[in-house]
Assembly symmetry: C2
Homo-oligomer: 257 residues x 2
């Protein structure tokens, strides 16, 4: 298709739409982005596709959306799978796309969704201030137990590609899963800088932190990150920096581990 | 490939592995299933693929796994996408698979993951009893706000297929997304029978509850559900029936909506 790629998402935070941007930026492909609209216009563009009357049925439960010609895709990992194949970022063999998709799903579940839920453990509809205590409790366990188990998993994946050594999750082959891991590490570090600094200093996850640096240094990504197209983290997105949650030390109940 | 399909998952609960079974059962395809092993043997079969030493790198962060010849796939929606295409359950057009994948991801996020988190809002590693109060608070909001918004979304998707009317999420075309929605409705009803009865009685989600019945009545599915291959829900799986969480009525803070 020669139709343009159109990202439809809120403006003002990187959010889940950021993953879509990173693939298009890495590939050097032009795209339209509702980021350039005002906050209200971007919201209207998102809501437009939720309108069952206009479109037969709602095209999504939550944004981002990618429009490519007549195709309107929702769900971040689904959009990435489609774009990854289109842009040559899903591995050289046909079945590689399933491995890359599994890696992307695992990063998004483990670092993006779990980081989000650390500030909203009770209900999305409630403001943080009304679930602050639960959020602190959840963050403690997350940093002590779950976050390092994710970092350890990625370290093992990176170390395990012995037949095809290289800095990437698929060994010598760069794929969009590397971009997803970069973005989730980046967001988690914004939200939990002290905890991530401790994990970095431990030396146990050197391959993981190296991947983050290696992605940042890719020419198209470096140019993008330095541009005004890169949105800043804000304290209403997926990744929020609440210093009271950025805890290092033992969780409250020592026996629980 | 003529290799057998092998599902590798814990035994004793339907869990996420159940989605894989439903596709294979619907298609009438024979498959191997670690369900037939003892609890310890099934656990060992799962752990085997986490061993970086044996396999170059770990094949998953969490089960289920599907082995098909040399291919070992993880992540439930990823396995379903692969199988859906193999078994002719991902729609007639090539790009239908992206729509079906988006629908499956939305069901799994909204009904399976959110139902799970209702009994583990603070930490996976903590037993329910140590997060009981937070669980009750989360369940209240979930039932009052989030669960009906999911049901409403599925009702709208089903009503919206006006050009291709039929009982399924893709109108007249049955796909694996229908099996995923069936299973998630079934599990949610096990966990929250009073709440789901109230939603059913409201009449607002008649198409959703009809889909559940229509899937149950498909010959291969009906035979499967009546067999001993169908695992029973238990109170250590994704869907747990804690009567104290199956609440109908207003959440604690009336102003919050």
């Amino acid at each position: 298709m020669t139709a343009p790629y159109e990202l439809i998402y809120y403006t003002g935070v990187p959010g889940r739409g950021e993953h879509v941007r990173l693939l298009l930026e890495e590939a050097g492909r032009p795209y339209q982005d509702t980021r350039t609209l005002s906050f209200g216009e971007a919201r209207d563009a998102v809501v437009h596709w939720k309108d069952a009357g206009t479109h037969g049925n709602p095209k999504y439960f939550a944004p981002p959306l990618l429009k490519h010609g007549d195709l309107v895709l929702s769900q971040t990992p689904n959009i990435l799978l489609y774009l990854g194949r289109q842009l040559g970022l899903a591995g050289p063999q046909e079945n590689d796309a399933y491995r890359v998709n599994a890696l992307a799903l695992t990063v998004l579940d483990g670092l993006s969704n779990e980081a989000h839920d650390s500030h909203h453990p009770i209900a999305l509809m409630l403001p943080y201030e009304e679930q602050k205590e639960e959020s602190r409790r959840r963050s403690q366990y997350w940093i002590e137990n779950r976050l390092p188990s994710h970092l350890e998993y990625w370290q093992k994946v990176l170390e395990g590609e012995k037949d095809n050594p290289g800095p990437w999750l698929l060994g010598g082959t760069f794929t969009y899963a590397d971009l997803v891991l970069f973005q989730c590490l980046d967001g988690t570090t914004y939200a939990f800088p002290k905890a991530m600094e401790k994990f970095k200093a431990s030396g146990n996850y050197d391959r993981v932190f190296k991947l983050w640096e290696d992605v940042k240094a890719r020419p198209n990504i470096a140019a993008y990150l330095a541009s005004d197209r890169r949105q800043k983290y804000q304290d209403w997105g997926i990744y929020r920096h609440y210093p009271e949650n950025d805890l290092i030390g033992e969780p409250e109940q020592q026996g629980a581990l």
